[in-house]
Symmetry: C2
Subunit: 354 residues, 2 copies
């Protein structure tokens, strides 16, 4: 997809109907982007008021590959981000000139230098009066549960896990999210690795027998625990190994003690990450009883299982912090990113809102 | 180094003095090879009787790179093995025709198919009456402590860790050695990873403060625990990370509780591997009190520290198996490999020994 910079048109823009004519939207717009290690999602939303009980209006949604500059390199990350924004605008029938704010929440953005590089490049694409927000992707996850307000804690547990927290006066803190070598045991990867290890230990006589042995071998179509070593090191990518986490839940539900213990350990790990963040930021107030939102995101925390990991994590946190207000977001993180910008614009430019 | 096969000469062999003339050795020889993931060592030893209290006579020693076929591929592994044997013979001033037995103990040899492939290739190089022994490298480590006798248990703990055991009637068993993803926590890598994780946990508020933070940052010349994530994933090779294990020992010796707990955990893990092997093979007899040799190999088990990991492992095993007879080998594994062949030949061909 050929695109040109500042002032020049993106290749779809000359095909748009003239402003006000045809079916194209003419409101001012926000782009919200959620860039993970697997894919990047961009949504396009008008700057209109809506009640908190209703879903935010979304004009268009586009999906592209990874935009984590650590994984794919900076040039490819930019290409992907530019492409997914162009596609969302094209689907909405809008041009860049309608964009009023862009909130880009991308994994791999951890330092002010990462932020500045992306800001420089965004200002090269959009007009000078557009507002930019460049954040870590956990910010979009938090905002998806708080309707754009940066306050509270978010716990993300998918292939990896991280707890991130923000206060209303702009302080932030994180715990875990250091990757599997550095002990993210609450993650889907962590759960799966503990299960694989338990199978090896049962096999060589170091640990108790477990249902995980037959269940994992069946799932991987292997005939002996010996072969797990080869399977693991043939491709030790985190996401591939994390796909075994649901097997552990099934075994725990069927009463297997080893699987049960693995999940309990993961629960304690995740709760400990959240507690560390809450305590450092004082989200719970001085007496530990203040209310604060805890946004729960990621497939490890999904609620459709009898052994409900998310519920156990909450139970564990509420014991120490009774003011914990758990939230399962109803919108996706890309919408959360857009809501963050929306929230900011609403506060700053109240008169502009239609 | 140009070499030719069967019957043809290796390129140094035509330079050797005629048999019986000059300074070249004329006895029959054994080649002992220890092939690890880092390097391969070959020693050349004459088939002569010697008393167990004296060191076995070694004519020559040669060192080459890795010969683990999983790491470097089969062709390169063969090239390395052939080169290191040729070099040892050349240094000893001997030709292949003097070789009576070859014991090749290489990491990565786990299945009969691995063994057969190497046997086929050895019989292509040497005369048909040469005895071959192809084993996993842990066999050489055991033999280095038992003067070539395949009986007892060996615990290896360097970058990785494994416990291997053999009975006199040919049964064998192993525990651990499944690599870091699958929980070899007793290894140098395991100890280092636990230390790095403790630093991250202390930093984000999940764990207690520890001296490991300043010690590891100083060692790696980093300024903040934040940078450990980048350091770790920039090159997560096991050996590079395992170099941090001695820092943990130093901190434990200085009284740091976190470091102390990491070492105690590693000790329990290693002891549990040995106990699993001993129990499965019944090395301890029916009443659990029989004598059996426990050969201890690898830098994690070195005895020159005040916090003596090896001593603690032994203490832990002896509690359950009072007949444990710990051995710190006085010769290197390549000599152990040669002794294994020597032991076999002595038994089979007693009259041949000079």
């Amino acid at each position: 997809m050929k695109r040109e910079r500042k002032g020049d048109i993106w290749d779809f823009e000359h095909q748009l109907p003239a402003a006000g004519g045809g079916s194209a939207h003419t409101e001012k717009l926000i782009l919200g982007l959620d860039g993970g290690t697997t894919n990047t999602i961009c949504i396009c939303m008008p700057i209109v008021a809506f009640t908190p009980n209703h879903s935010p209006p979304v004009y268009a949604r586009a999906v592209a590959g990874s935009s984590n500059h650590n994984s794919v390199g900076e040039t490819a990350a930019r290409e992907t981000l530019e492409q997914v924004m162009a596609e969302a605008l094209s689907k909405a029938g809008c041009s860049r000139s309608a964009v009023r704010a862009v909130c880009l929440a991308v994994s791999g953005v951890n330092h002010p230098t990462d932020q500045q590089r992306i800001l420089d490049w965004l200002s090269d694409i959009f007009a000078s009066d557009v507002e930019f927000f460049v954040e870590n992707d956990s910010v979009a996850a938090l905002a998806s549960g708080t309707m754009g307000k940066l306050h509270g804690c978010v716990l993300i547990a998918g292939t990896g896990t991280i707890a991130y927290g923000y206060t209303e006066d702009g302080r932030e803190a994180r715990a875990a999210g250091a990757g599997p070598i550095l002990g993210d045991w609450g993650s889907g990867y962590g759960i799966a690795v503990k299960a694989l290890t338990s199978v090896v230990r049962a096999y060589d006589g170091r640990g108790p027998e477990t249902m995980l042995t037959s269940s994992i071998l069946r799932q991987l179509q292997l005939s002996s625990p010996d072969e797990l070593i080869g399977w693991t090191y043939a491709d030790p990518s985190w996401a591939r190994i994390a796909t075994l986490a649901p097997v552990v839940v099934l075994c725990a539900e069927a009463g297997d003690q080893v699987a049960n213990d693995i999940l309990l350990y993961a629960v304690e790990e995740m709760a400990s990450s959240v507690k560390a963040v809450v305590q450092r930021l004082g989200l719970c107030g001085k007496d530990g009883k203040d209310n604060f939102p805890l946004v729960m995101v990621g497939n490890v925390l999904e609620t459709n299982r009898r052994w409900d990991i998310g519920k156990e994590v909450i139970r564990c946190i509420v014991k120490d912090f009774p003011g914990t207000r758990p939230i399962r977001p109803k919108v996706e993180p890309a919408v959360g990113a857009a809501l963050l910008a929306w929230n900011y614009l609403i506060e700053q430019y109240q008169p502009d809102v239609e």
